[in-house]
């Protein structure tokens, strides 16, 4: 039965900050083990949407269902319930690690919180397994966050998020700050984790090439609204909305046609 229920279901999500509507009627569904891209530029509302999913912002209206149940409220119980099912990864995880704790201690923290009955030995075994799963050495596990490179810190953030076996991982520009060669390592890691654990991803990114690699379906957001949705491959091969076309043609390729980008921009302005 659970395999038929979307693990995440969002409908009519609205978020206003004063007079500004950051998210305007956003809705989508995510099946267990699936991967959905949220594509957009600054001001598109993609990050606000992600923050609402993780419970970091309250929506003005609309609903978020996790495994079929509504998640609302900011009580400790509600937040724990949500965190158990859904974890979030940020662009630079540096700020989310306690500088005085070792990486292994930070990875153990959510396990301690959510699975208090687990013995210390079992918890340590689970942390070692997680670090190994994301490709971090024992030495890296014993280091404070400042001694790790950006790629290693992102691995550590993934290990920590996976510790309590959530059903959904929300990744907000999670590979945007990494060097190309490191970005490929993290993408490959995310591929294998999804294959092995059946976790589902909401992958928020401005980078269409990365979104194409890591997602099955995608929504394109602009000014708080979803302007196009569908299979990622179909969107990229045959974009319907003028904004999606502008985004695609803005990506540098050999023989890049900047005049075409300018034409796309005029077509988009004319469509409003």
């Amino acid at each position: 039965m659970t395999s038929e229920t979307p693990v995440l279901s969002v409908s009519s999500l609205v978020k206003r900050f004063g007079d500004v509507t950051a998210v305007d009627g956003v809705g989508f569904e995510l099946m267990p083990g699936a991967s959905l891209g949220i594509v957009g530029e600054s001001g598109s509302g993609k990050t606000t949407t992600a923050r609402i999913l993780a419970g970091l912002d309250e929506p003005t209206s609309g609903t978020v269902l996790l495994a079929g149940e509504p998640v609302t409220g900011r009580s400790r119980r509600a937040r724990l319930h949500r965190a158990r099912l859904l974890q979030m990864i940020f662009q630079d995880p540096y700020g989310s690690f306690d500088p005085r704790q070792t990486i292994a201690e930070s990875v153990a923290e959510p396990i301690r919180l959510h699975l208090p009955d687990l013995s210390g030995a079992d918890r340590r075994a689970r942390v070692a397994e997680l670090l190994d799963q994301v490709g971090l050495s024992e030495r890296a596990g014993g280091s404070p966050p400042r001694e790790l490179s950006g790629g290693q810190r992102q691995r550590a953030a993934i290990a920590r998020a996976l510790g309590i076996r959530p059903r959904v991982l929300v990744l907000d520009e999670a590979v945007a700050a990494l060097d190309v060669s490191i970005q490929a390592q993290i993408l490959t890691l995310l591929d294998s984790l999804r294959r092995d654990t059946g976790i589902a991803y909401v992958f928020v990114s401005h980078d269409l090439a990365v979104v194409r690699h890591i997602t099955d379906t995608a929504v394109v957001m602009r000014h708080g609204r979803i302007v196009e949705r569908g299979d990622t491959e179909t969107i990229l091969r045959d974009p319907q909305h003028p904004y999606t076309r502008l985004l695609l043609d803005s990506i540098p390729v050999p023989g890049w046609d900047l005049d075409r980008v300018a034409r796309d921009r005029r077509a988009l302005d004319a469509s409003r």
Binding site: E41, S42, S149, G151, D179, V180, S181, I182, Q183, A184, Q185, L187, T188, H206, D207, L208, A209, V210, R212, H213, E233, L236, L246, L247, L248, D249, S250, I251, P252, V253, P254, G255, W256, L258, V261, A262, R265
Partner: protein
């Protein structure tokens, strides 16, 4: 021979960096930063300098302005429009930065004084060259129009915080080109911008550069971007140039294993969906690099001979490459 080539045959290159070696400190505590970097930018040419963290690409671009880290020792030659940068004194360097070479950075807000009006920013370079204030103001207005700022007259009186990142980067580009420099050093100028804004700023940069005949050194981590807009591209790794190729040739025929690995690590947005191949390990700086070829500990083709010495640069296909076995690097 094109007009451009004929011109460059008589006039010196916009920028010539020849065998630049840079390090901090001496003896056992010495930290090497760059090793034998050679980069040439002809007049009106767009040249890419591509690399990951620690490759030395920004250090190389800054060297063109005589900007070195504190305590650094430089050997080799750096020439901008015929001026010997390494031998130049303080006054000569100031004059160089004011008239012959301009630089734009990733974050326009770091490059522009937040409490001064955009008009002041645009006219100060011209005023310093002795242009009368009325004429400087007219030039500033004209520049803002050229870079596509709406209401340019009003913009002159506004402060930087009233502009978006993309619009402010246009202002900075206008300022950098106001003195008609021989060379423009652009260090990740569009990295902080949205993709659609990046495309517009690049179009503007190319157009301004084309009409003025300015040489541009375009520093970026983005191989696709460099290959798309540059006549030639240098690929840097751990403080050295490992490959030089025509922009169009990089994709079809990479000659260095590192260039090929970078291409295979980035997922394509068009064409067939292909597997990406991660490069093991992480990018190194020159100080951390292994002996011989710095890439050998991450290279799938490395053999014992790669450790012997730093590979000499040699011609292979249309590239100049620092690798002992470029013939094995077929795509």
């Amino acid at each position: 021979m094109t007009v451009l080539e004929k011109e460059s045959a008589i006039r010196p290159d916009a920028l010539g960096i020849d065998g630049l070696t840079l390090g901090i400190g001496s003896g056992a505590s010495a930290v090497p930063l760059l090793d034998g970097v050679t980069v040439r930018v002809g007049r009106g040419e767009t040249v890419g300098l591509v690399g990951e963290s620690g490759s030395g690409k920004s250090l190389t671009a800054r060297a063109a302005l005589g900007m070195f880290p504190r305590g650094a020792r430089a050997t080799g030659a750096v020439t901008v429009a015929g001026v010997d940068v390494l031998a130049a004194g303080r006054a000569a360097l100031r004059d160089l930065r004011r008239t012959r070479a301009s630089m734009i950075f990733q974050d326009p807000r770091a490059a522009i004084n937040p409490v001064r009006r955009v008009g002041d920013y645009l006219t100060e370079g011209l005023r310093a060259r002795g242009v009368p204030s009325r004429e400087a103001a007219a030039t500033a207005l004209e520049l803002l129009e050229q870079v596509g700022i709406r209401d340019p007259r009003g913009a002159l009186r506004r402060h930087p915080h009233e502009f978006s990142g993309g619009m402010l980067q246009r202002v900075v580009i206008a300022g950098a080109l106001s003195t008609e420099p021989d060379v423009l050093l652009a260090d990740e100028p569009t990295t902080a911008l949205d993709v659609t804004t990046q495309a517009e700023v690049i179009a503007l940069l190319k157009e301004m550069q084309r009409t003025r005949g300015t040489g541009m050194l375009f520093v970026t981590h983005d191989l696709d971007l460099a290959a798309a807009i540059c006549d030639r591209v240098y690929v840097m790794y751990a403080g050295r140039i490992v490959e030089e190729a025509a922009g169009t040739a990089l994709f079809s025929a990479p000659a260095h294993p590192y260039t090929k690995a970078l291409l295979e690590a980035s997922p394509p947005v068009h064409g067939d969906r292909t597997e990406i191949k991660a490069i093991k390990g992480r990018p190194r700086s020159l100080a951390e690099a292994p002996s011989g070829c710095a890439f050998r500990d991450r290279c799938p083709l490395a053999g014992d001979d790669c450790a012997a010495s730093v590979p000499a640069t040699r011609a292979h296909g249309t590239s100049a490459v620092a690798c002992v076995r470029p013939e094995e690097v077929a795509r």
